[in-house]
Amino acid sequence: MTNNPNVLVKISNAGIQKSGKWLVKDVNLEIHRGKIVTIIGPNGSGKSTTAKIVLGLHKKIEGNVQTFTKKISYVPQKVSIDWTLPIRVLDFMVLTEDLKPQEINDALNLTGVDHLISRNLRDLSGGEFQRVLLARAIAKKPELLVLDEPVQGVDFAGEVALYGLIKKISETLNCGILLISHDLHVVMSATDYVVCLNGHVCCSGTPVDVARDKHYKELFGEKSSQLLSIYEHDHDHVHTADGDIVKENV
């Protein structure tokens, strides 16, 4: 039992079996307010399963899951909208909670899709749809945000911007974020804690620790740990359009 008021979710020794095979096993994880936990790992390593365990979507699990918040937003890995269901972005935004028009607009504006508000969900491109999913999740102002590959299909510039946004949200809303991602390079820069999964937790810790871990190198290759070096230097400056270095006033 934890007494830390910053802990939103604590899972200990969690695992799930399906027809005699472990999908994931022995996962230990804590999500804190204002922090981003990222799960990385190859396909089929149990990333989404772990997210679902955190959300309480799997009923027959081993181990222990304690959740200390009810204000949860979820961006699933895949949402498909049936043709028979006509639904606009506007209708989707208030799916699980009523929001003021201002709140809807603000959230859509943050993810850069406020102009799509009266469009039908089925008419959106993959990237636009992901932005809408993310907007809906943050519009609720959750305490816990679970994002299962939230930027899939988003263009590269948008991807970087959205990860920046996710980082900002964790600070402004002081919410805990569980992020599942493939984009090692971006993830490593914008996260507080990394869990490297391959059916079980291979290694976990700060991005720097994980990148140095030999299990991580085995799983993702030598090159992947070099990715981090791009980010390891301190960002104390920005570049202007012509390449000049300007001291950042933050």
């Binding site: 937003s73 699933p76 639904i87």
Partner: protein, 265 residues
């Protein structure tokens, strides 16, 4: 006024169309049309039990259909059979059991055609009461569970993760469907009730671009089918239940012209 059979039929039809509109939308969105059929078929068992034991017909149908619905939800969880196989199993076995029981009831004069296709013109004041009171309760419950039910229709896991309890609202929804079948069997009959649920709704889908609009249009479609269908059946002397469904079909065909313009044009 309630003495006039045509007027009673009209009031009954309006009551049913008001309920089939919104429920039909969820049936279509959730791909439950075969499920509606299964419940309707099980209603025959309910009708026969009520005749055999002299029970209230609507309550007996409601009980039998609800039990079948809950049995189905249970079987879906505990067996690995796909849903359509389970539905076929329940649908046809309840129909068959009903027909076997009918064989034992040869001493009772029983109008099987009325149960299969409905007999809207035999609707009495008691039927009107059960349609309108039952219908009001169904709509009230639907209104209360609208948000979680809609959320779990769009994405089950998202709804569950965000605390909407989809399993419970799904069970409530199937019971609402059973209740609708119970109050409307006398009017539209068990073979045609799914038609009343589905056809005005699919027409509405062709013409709408958001969920509320689709619900309203499917209510309007249902009402129009009842008005025109009743009038026509009276004028050209056809049976009223099938005529109402044929009108709904014609409205659907007309709506295809609208969809061509909207989606492909």
């Amino acid at each position: 006024m309630f003495d006039d059979f045509l007027f009673r039929a009209l009031i009954a039809g309006i009551g049913i169309a008001l309920v089939t509109g919104p429920l039909g939308c969820f049936v279509v969105w959730r791909r439950l049309s075969f499920f509606g059929d299964t419940l309707a078929h099980s209603a025959l068992l309910g009708v026969l039990l009520s005749v055999a034991f002299d029970l209230n017909i609507s309550l007996t149908i409601f009980t039998v259909s609800s039990l079948i619905a809950l049995l189905l939800l249970r079987l879906q969880k505990t067996t690995n059979l796909p849903s359509d196989a389970l539905l076929g199993l329940l649908s046809h076995s309840s129909l068959a059991v009903g027909l076997v029981i009918l064989g034992f009831l040869s001493f009772i004069r029983f109008d099987i055609m009325g149960v299969l296709f409905g007999d809207i013109l035999s609707v009495n004041v008691n039927d009107l009461l059960s349609i309108w009171i039952g219908g009001a309760i169904i709509l009230l419950v639907l209104w209360f569970i609208w948000k979680p039910l809609f959320a779990s229709t769009v994405n089950y896991e998202l709804a569950e993760a965000e605390g909407m309890n989809p399993e419970r609202v799904n069970a409530i929804f199937t019971i609402l469907l059973a209740a609708l079948i119970a109050i409307s069997i006398k009017m539209v009959g068990l073979l045609l009730i799914t038609g009343m649920l589905i056809i005005p709704t699919t027409m509405a889908r062709n013409l709408s671009n958001n969920p509320k609009q689709m619900v309203i249009l499917s209510i309007i479609g249902g009402l129009l089918s009842v008005f025109i269908g009743l009038y026509t059946s009276f004028e050209i002397n056809t049976s009223s239940g099938p005529t109402i469904v044929v009108v709904a079909l014609i409205l659907f065909i007309l709506s295809l012209i609208g969809i061509k313009k909207r989606n492909y044009g």
